[in-house]
């Protein structure tokens, strides 16, 4: 039993790291940039499809395929910012991005069909004992997620562009007085956040199969992770992702798969009621946490 629990925890940590990366872009968009993007899950799903078709169906070499997905996502982010997220009214943003999400899902369904797509790669596992093992791909994705998020944090805190983004997020008027072009910086920040979505999509495709509804699952996970961590808190999102991953595995392993959703969402409601700003965020001004 003890070894099984250790196995659940290790797997949960690896899966949770990817959850953290998946959620961090949404946390950044929604919490820091104040864009309510409910086409987020659909965007990840689209990235997964483009990754799959580029490599498997169109036989494009991996580096070029990755480049294609990155460019596509940056363009998608930029276009969204200029169209459906042009207005700052949150209700309009929510409705428009929900509509966009349905458009993306149905377009993917129409173009690629809803047949589940899978690279068919069998993951090599690292066995610690006969019953304790973790997936090599999952471990690599976990490490990459951590590196990418640390790099992104450093970009925000160490580079002039990153500092401009933070300045605009914290006080747009003052930032503008200091010579920062507010709207253009937000355009750039939103487009950059789509790099995280692209990377998350590529990683997820290497581990799981994709179908048009897959994005809904990721959207739900991102929602739980981000709100639990505190919107806008990137490092918190990573930690919260790990927590959710471990909890998921423990619930399924110790209680049963049927209990996963009710317990996870039950905890989510309790966290929201007890700590509305998240378990990893203390200050009310969550934008400062980036």
């Amino acid at each position: 039993m003890g070894s099984a629990i250790l196995g659940y925890v290790l797997n949960g940590i690896c899966i949770g790291g990817v959850y953290g990366l998946v959620s961090s872009a949404w946390s950044f968009q929604c919490g820091a940039l104040k864009f309510a993007n409910f086409a987020y899950g659909a965007s990840i799903m689209l990235s997964m499809y483009i990754t799959y078709f580029s490599i498997r169906e169109w036989n494009i070499p991996l580096p070029i395929a990755v480049l294609i997905v990155l460019v596509m996502d940056i363009c998608l982010g930029f276009l969204m910012r200029k169209t459906v997220l042009w207005r700052h009214d949150r209700n309009t943003q929510i409705l428009c991005t929900m509509g966009l999400s349905l458009i993306i899902i149905n377009l993917v369904d129409f173009v690629f069909t809803s047949y589940p797509r899978d690279f068919g790669i069998l993951e090599t596992r690292i066995f610690f004992t006969d019953s304790i093992s973790i997936g090599r791909t999952q471990l690599i994705c976990f490490v990459m997620s951590a590196v990418i998020l640390i790099t992104f944090q450093m970009f925000l805190s160490k580079t002039w562009t990153g500092r401009s983004i933070r300045a605009v997020v914290q006080n747009k008027e003052v930032a503008t007085l200091m010579g920062v072009k507010g709207a253009r910086t937000l355009d750039l920040a939103f487009a950059l956040s789509y790099i995280l979505i692209a990377v998350a999509g590529i990683m997820l495709m290497s581990m799981y199969q994709v179908e048009p509804a897959y994005g809904d699952r990721m959207q739900s996970i991102a929602f739980i992770v981000c709100v639990s961590a505190g919107l806008g808190n990137l490092s918190g999102a990573f930690m919260s992702g790990i927590l959710v991953g471990v909890l998921e595995q423990l619930i399924v392993g110790l209680l049963g798969a049927q209990f996963r959703t009710p317990i996870l969402y039950g905890l989510f409601v309790i966290i929201l009621l007890a700590r509305p700003h998240g378990i990893f965020t203390r200050k009310q001004n969550v934008a400062r946490s980036i």
Binding site: A4, T113, S114, G120, E123, Y208, Q209, E248, Q249
Partner: protein, 419 residues
């Protein structure tokens, strides 16, 4: 003079139109969408319509239905008793779309429908086809579709209760015949998605009635993507037969995870069509070989039991580029029923759905008469009582081999698997 002539002409046209409208019957397709038919002597094409899931998550099943129906018509030569048959397809990914598409098709003259993939369309029609005098042949397996006597709603396929019980019956048979474990000592593990709980329920009831122990039951949410925890639990559970009830979205990651974690159950008896499909085959022989799967009658039954099954299989693959799923065979069989019924009638009477429904009610076919093997004999609630035969296939070298029952099988089962 000109005005008077025009007035007379218009009045004449109006009178003819009114007479035509007054004479039309709501059950008659000729009155709605096939005007100009009867008078000319040559009858318009007879429409058989299908609302199926051509978009959405289950579009692969919807397309299989479409292909199966198309191939049936092609094999029929496009006509019955000299009257052309026209297939009409519409997309029904959900109930609202199905209702709207039904209204559109109805207004365009469709009065005869064949079930699409899943039960969305069937549920919609079950509630209204008597009122609309629309003939509907359902292939869905939900038993509760039949709420009472109906003149127009028929269910041609097997029901889910029989299917679920059938799986457990096969498991008991495998236990006794191959594992030397009697039913009251047999331990099974059930792993299924919430979406398919209604298949698991009759299995559990059958197991309880026969003393079979459910050693592990994992009912996971539809959006589950990682199965490592469930596989770990399987590894730590003592059971004889694993029964997964899954679709493509969850079956593939589940089987991959089993393989990745170096765990192979002693016997796997798949229930649910995923285990018959090419996506499962795509996992590779190393994973698929030896796995058993119960299904409706499939395209892989013996030619001797169902003449025409080989031609169906070969023509389907040649036309659509992949091996047919059981769904395609179901639609093919449904179309065959309609063709056989139409053959017994004068084509001029086909548009009267009351007469057509009566002919369908009285239609009987022996097992093996149709390519899907099942016979046809509707009971008082229009359930087909001869759609109760299931088959068990086994994957061998990437091919499905029918191993049960004896009169449909093409090969002997290898249990436990030699690998």
């Amino acid at each position: 003079m000109f005005k008077k002539t025009m007035s007379l002409l218009l009045a004449g046209c109006l009178a003819i139109s009114l007479a035509a409208c007054g004479g039309s019957d709501p059950s008659s397709a000729a009155g709605a969408g096939s005007s100009g038919a009867a008078a000319g002597g040559e009858l318009p094409p007879f429409k058989i319509s299908m609302i199926t899931q051509l978009t959405g998550n289950n579009s692969f099943g919807g397309h299989e239905y479409q292909y199966g129906a198309e191939l049936a018509l092609e094999h029929q030569g496009g006509e019955v008793n000299g009257r052309k048959i026209e297939l009409v397809f519409a997309d029904g990914p959900n109930t609202d779309a199905t209702v709207s598409e039904f209204e559109r098709l109805y207004n365009e003259g469709s009065r005869v429908f064949l079930s699409g993939y899943g039960c969305i369309s069937d549920r919609t029609f079950a509630a209204m086809c008597d009122e609309m005098k629309v003939l509907y042949l359902s292939l869905a397996w939900d038993y509760d579709l039949i709420q009472g006597p109906s003149d127009y709603f028929f269910r041609g396929g097997a029901n889910v209760t029989a299917f679920g019980s059938g799986v457990m019956e096969q498991a008991i048979g495998i236990g006794e015949q191959y594992l030397n474990v009697p039913a009251d000592q047999l331990k099974v593990a059930l792993v299924y998605t919430t979406r398919l709980s209604h298949v698991a329920d009759p299995m559990k009831e059958y197991a309880a009635a026969h003393g079979v122990t459910i050693a592990l039951e994992e009912n996971y949410p539809d959006d589950t993507t990682d199965f490592s925890a469930i596989v770990t639990k399987l590894m730590n559970t003592d059971y004889d037969i694993l029964i997964p009830i899954q679709g493509a979205a969850d079956g593939t990651p589940f089987q991959k995870k089993l393989h990745e974690m170096n765990y192979t159950p002693n016997v796997t008896l798949g229930a649910g069509c995923y285990y018959d499909t090419p996506n499962f085959a795509d996992l590779g022989n190393e994973i698929t070989d030896g796995i058993l799967t119960q299904s409706y009658t499939t395209p892989y039954i013996a030619e001797g039991a169902a003449p025409g099954i080989t031609k169906f299989r070969e023509d389907f693959e040649a036309k659509y580029g992949h091996k047919p799923l059981a769904h395609a065979l179901q639609a093919y069989g449904g179309m065959q029923i309609y063709f056989k019924v139409l053959e017994t009638m004068d084509p001029a009477d086909w548009d009267d759905t009351a007469k057509l429904a009566e002919a369908l009610k009285n239609f009987k076919a022996e097992e093996g008469d149709l390519v899907w093997y099942w016979g046809v004999d509707f009971d008082e609630l229009n359930n087909n009582t001869l759609a109760n035969q299931f088959v068990v296939n086994q994957w061998v070298d990437g091919e499905l081999k029918c191993v049960f029952p004896d009169f449909l099988k093409t090969d002997e089962a290898v249990i436990p698997w030699k690998g």
